[in-house]
Amino acid sequence: MKRELRKVLGLALVAAVFLIGIALPACAAGPAQKNLILATTTSTQDSGLLDVLIPMFEKKTGYFVKTIAVGSGQAMAMGQKGEADVLLVHSPDAEKKFMAEGYGVNRLIVMHNDYIIIGPPADPAAIKGGSSTLEAFKKIAAAGSLFMSRGDNSGTHAKEQGIWKAAGIKPEGQKWYQQTGLGMGQTLNVAAEKKGYTLADRGTWLSLQKNLGLPILKEGDSILLNVYHVIGVNPAKWPKVNADGAKAFSDFMLSGETQGIVKTFGVEKYGGALFFPDAGKPEYE
């Protein structure tokens, strides 16, 4: 009986050692200030751009970047709570509000691409070749054609809501208007499956295009510009924010080398650039 008990205790000891062995390296991510939380949009992750840039940044600076890819809205919410150090987002109106309320510092333009309206090749609302984006949205509403919205407060969702507003249409609650609540990649897949229209950033669309079968039906309108900014979270509001890391990251994003990579990223694979570098340029508005 005693021996049995000893056996159990021995086993428990082995288990405990095993646990500690695992837990330790997991905790040993270095000193706290080496960690940098980057809250960003799904498009920068889904397009693969960050997979190229982040390892470069880590190697160069020694920071360990925790990339949390969510919508721009959620990224800014994380910044507001001091739960992120630096943001890479594309929702200009919300960003300005974020800055005005004092949550951010150093909002700097990084790059742009553009939004496109894509939809089923049959184009039931006949938006192809139309004169403007607003007209395209009006036609989709008038025809009652299925439109898939991100519905997740992301930069793309904010842009889409802005266009509906400008077109004087309230799509919420309409039968033809559905919200996925998912990232750009997944929403494109849903739109492809349900043969719906949607607004997408060109980068994500290009990287998914092969499986989608959803052509571009409207592009090249000034309202469709998609601008990415880097914003540091204000350390005066949240003392735990890694301000040095945020500064280093924004310097890195705007450096000549990084901007050069942004410029050529995806050209070989997709036959066209996914993003256009903008460091140092004036704001588009």
């Binding site: 009986m1 049995e4 008990l5 095993f18 991510a29 799904t42 709570k81």
Partner: protein, 232 residues
């Protein structure tokens, strides 16, 4: 159909070429969920046995709570663990949000009620006279508890399988508290979600195949142990 075949081909390719990234993701999944299962076993078997063998006011309520906990939605666990672990949250000083440790914590929270519930049921299912018999033979209380747990070892292995199976396949909490950080806190399920979002369905299918293989192997080993000696 082509896509599935291509996914399977990709899976075998990734497994047999020992793709570094996939190997890392697989090992991390195993480590994280294995550790979480061990923690849940430790707590679950202790609490389950204690509740099964004792009588106290409100016991019915506790048992109901444990049984409800067996169906605890992982996203709810993920949300609360995230809020607690925020830098400015109650446990922020631990600085473990977006680390594998955070995933272990969340998964242990999910698995513990499962293990507790099954332990409770299996200890209670032992013949009532067994306790008296053991005590009558002069065993101490500790020895009695140990013998009972030993007697219930077969259903307890089912608890291990249910707990491990529940968390290795879980994605909601892992992505929220782990952040799906490449080469650091990316596990099989979160990687599958991401690759699906990226439209890399072949890789997503490959990861799913690896996940299922892993679950199968672990369960096969446990079943082997469980079935080696049939209950008398």
């Amino acid at each position: 159909m082509d896509l599935i075949l291509e996914g399977l081909r990709k899976a075998f390719y990734l497994i047999f070429t020992l793709d570094r990234e996939v190997l890392g993701i697989t090992l991390l999944s195993l480590q994280v969920s294995g550790t979480a299962t061990l923690i849940s076993l430790f707590i679950g078997i202790s609490v389950g046995t204690a509740v099964a063998l004792s009588k106290f006011p409100g016991r019915q309520l506790v048992v109901s709570l444990i049984n409800t906990g067996m169906g605890l939605p992982p996203v709810v666990v993920g949300l609360f663990v995230t809020i607690f672990l925020w830098r400015n949250g109650p446990l922020g000083f631990l600085e473990i949000l977006y680390t594998p440790t955070a995933i272990i914590l969340a998964q242990a929270v999910i698995a513990t009620p499962i293990v507790t519930g099954i332990t409770l049921a299996s200890i209670q299912n032992l013949p009532a006279n067994l306790r008296l018999q053991i005590l009558a033979l002069g065993a101490t209380r500790v020895q009695m508890v140990w013998l009972l747990v030993k007697e219930a070892r077969l259903p307890l292995l089912a608890a291990v399988m249910a707990g491990f199976g529940g968390i290795i396949s879980e994605v909601g909490a892992s992505i929220m508290v782990g952040g799906n950080i490449r080469g650091y806190s990316r596990v099989l399920t979160t990687a599958t979600v991401m690759e699906t979002g990226r439209g890399n369905f072949d890789v997503a299918i490959a990861l799913s195949v690896i996940l299922m293989l892993l679950a199968f192997i672990v369960n096969a080993i446990l079943t082997q142990i469980q079935q080696r000696e049939r209950p008398r």
